[in-house]
């Protein structure tokens, strides 16, 4: 038990999430992230990836969402009892879908807001700022620019860098590839991997871009309609026939859509 505890940084146990008291969106999601791992949370638009991440970082309140069943533990501590700022202080921080940089603040000011909860002094914050600039040299070049006027890729880097400034042990990263050119996506995932390996940050990565996510993650969960329909080692998933067909677009008879009859049958099989 205590061993499992030490090796698991985050565990989500059978949670149910309801928006506006009536809209049931997550219908029993369980997953876990090993310390120092990169775990991918995959699924189409509307599957419930963002909702899962927000349940973990306790940001659902602002969206009138509620975790009505199940439990979430970060470092062995129940998340429901903590406020978002408690969680950031304990090392769990979210990078939201769509980057959400502070548009009227400069890049550097954005990065510094990431250090808002820290109490370890200016020297340490300066050191981490330097660390972020070393991982993202582009941010250093644009440090004085208003974030709202930088490119999508720079904003994504800024959002990840801002999260790193909190000195996190775990980052919940929501759709970093969204709207970015393939080469830039590759660049950003490469840096995520380095942050994972060199800075020891664990990642839970929500992505629609299944192929890239499975290349960088060690483990993956596939969400459909608010349920985990499949999970496994990233390698296994990327070789799985169903995943290939529905999420990687390399099926036998060309690309398939989710609404295919066959898909429907297979999905039923998974759910059974």
């Amino acid at each position: 038990m205590s061993d499992a505890h030490n090796n698991t940084i985050l565990s989500v146990n059978n949670i149910e999430v309801i928006y506006d008291h009536v809209i049931l969106v997550l219908k029993g999601v369980s997953l876990s992230v090993p310390r120092g791992g990169i775990v991918a949370l995959l699924g189409a638009n509307g599957a419930g990836k963002t909702t899962t991440l927000k349940a973990i970082s306790n940001l659902l309140g602002a969206e009138r969402g509620d975790v009505t069943k199940g439990s979430i533990e970060f470092e062995g501590e129940e998340v429901q009892a903590l406020s978002p700022n408690d969680l950031v202080r304990r090392g769990c921080i979210q990078v939201m879908e769509g980057r959400h940089c502070f548009g009227h603040l400069s890049i550097e000011e954005n990065l510094l807001t990431g250090a808002y909860t820290r109490k370890d002094g200016n020297a340490a914050i300066k050191r981490d700022l330097e660390m972020v600039y070393n991982y993202f040299p582009r941010l250093r070049e644009r440090r004085q620019s208003q974030a709202g006027y930088t490119s999508g890729g720079e904003q994504q880097m800024c959002a990840i860098g801002r999260a790193m400034m909190a000195g996190p042990s775990m980052i919940l990263l929501d759709e970093p590839s969204m709207g970015l050119a393939p080469q830039l996506v590759e660049e950003i995932f490469e840096i995520v991997k380095q942050l994972n390996e060199k800075e020891g940050v664990s990642f839970l990565l929500a992505e629609q871009n299944t192929s890239v996510a499975l290349r960088y993650a060690s483990y993956g969960y596939i969400l459909e309609g608010g349920r985990v329909v499949m999970d496994g080692e990233a390698k296994e998933l990327s070789e799985n026939q169903d995943v290939k067909e529905f999420y990687l677009g390399v099926g036998g008879e060309g690309q398939k859509s989710f609404r295919d009859v066959k898909h429907y049958k297979r999905r039923k099989r998974w759910l059974a």
Partner: protein, 302 residues
């Protein structure tokens, strides 16, 4: 300098005092609106309440002015904390109109509270700000300028400069701007909105206190003090609801504009121009430039 031009300058300068007041009240509005999206109807009453408290603690407890000031500041901070605890916290995620109505309620509560605690008679406020005409200006430029107006302008400038430094250079100031930009993202990096609300309402309370003291020094502390807030609305339309420089410049334009209009237009339309000039100007502005003089550009780029 010709006599007419001298007279014009005197008119402008006397409009500045009112302008500074409008600017300070509008500034309080902008701070709260930026940080929480709440249109605070009670901002004017906060000026009255703050000034009443300042005078009240001197009368009732015999505090000297230099002690009454921190005491009044303390009361305004306590008030901000109470507002967050008792009102804002429970209305999170509600429609802006509900929050607006809550501030209307707040205005009545504050008015009653001020009456109850300090009485409803007109109070003199004298903290030894210089009164009368400046001899220097009279001797050198042949201009009649009230000393109080000069002092008020200086104090307001110092306050605004201090706020600018606070917002641009400090960790909390940066967090306030972050919340104004994107409160979801602010939450996600661990900024507590509740703390930020207490801080902005405190700052707005302190700005109200300064405005209340200055206005009170000129006309005494009485209910009409809370009515200057009515002029803040046109100031906001002129300056933009989210712009601090807009509030200041807008306040000055309206303060000066209505004085000049009163003096030069009044005789032709039968006077009382001062009462409606601000609203006419705001209306004209709404038609031409609805985002205001300094209304923030919405950065549209993904």
């Amino acid at each position: 300098m010709s006599v007419e031009f001298g007279f014009f300058l005197e008119t402008v300068i006397s409009g500045l005092m009112a302008g500074v007041m409008y600017a300070l009240v509008a500034l309080g509005f902008v701070l709260i609106f930026k940080a929480s999206g709440i249109f605070n109807f009670a901002q004017g009453v906060m000026c009255l309440f703050a000034a009443l408290t300042f005078v009240g603690v001197q009368e009732k407890f015999g505090l000297p002015a230099w002690l009454a000031l921190p005491a009044a500041v303390g009361v305004m901070i306590l008030l901000a904390w109470l507002i967050e605890r008792l009102v804002l916290r429970h209305l999170v995620n509600q429609d802006p109109i509900i929050l607006f109505m809550a501030t209307i309620g707040l205005a009545y509560v504050l008015e009653g509270l001020g009456d109850l605690m300090w009485g409803s008679d007109v109070k003199l406020l004298d903290i030894g700000l210089p009164q009368g005409a400046s001899d220097y200006m009279l001797d050198n430029f042949n201009l009649y300028v009230e000393k109080l107006e000069v002092v008020a302008a200086v104090i307001a400038s110092i306050l605004v400069a201090a706020l600018a430094v606070f917002f641009q250079k400090t960790r909390v100031g940066r967090a306030l701007r972050a919340v104004a930009d994107d409160h979801q993202a602010a939450l996600s990096v661990g900024i507590s909105l509740n703390t930020i609300w207490v801080i902005v309402w405190s700052v707005a309370g302190i700005v109200a206190l300064v405005a209340g003291i200055m206005w009170g020094s000129k006309s005494g502390v009485q209910f009409s003090l809370s009515l200057i807030a009515l002029k803040a609305l046109p100031v906001l339309i002129l300056g933009g609801f989210t712009s601090i420089p807009g509030a200041i410049v807008g306040g000055l334009i309206i303060g000066v504009g209505e004085k000049v209009a009163e003096v030069y237009m009044g005789p032709f339309v039968g006077g009382a121009v001062e009462n409606w000039f601000a609203y006419m100007l705001a209306l004209a502005f709404l038609l031409v430039r609805p985002q205001g003089l300094f209304g923030e550009k919405i950065i549209e780029r993904v």
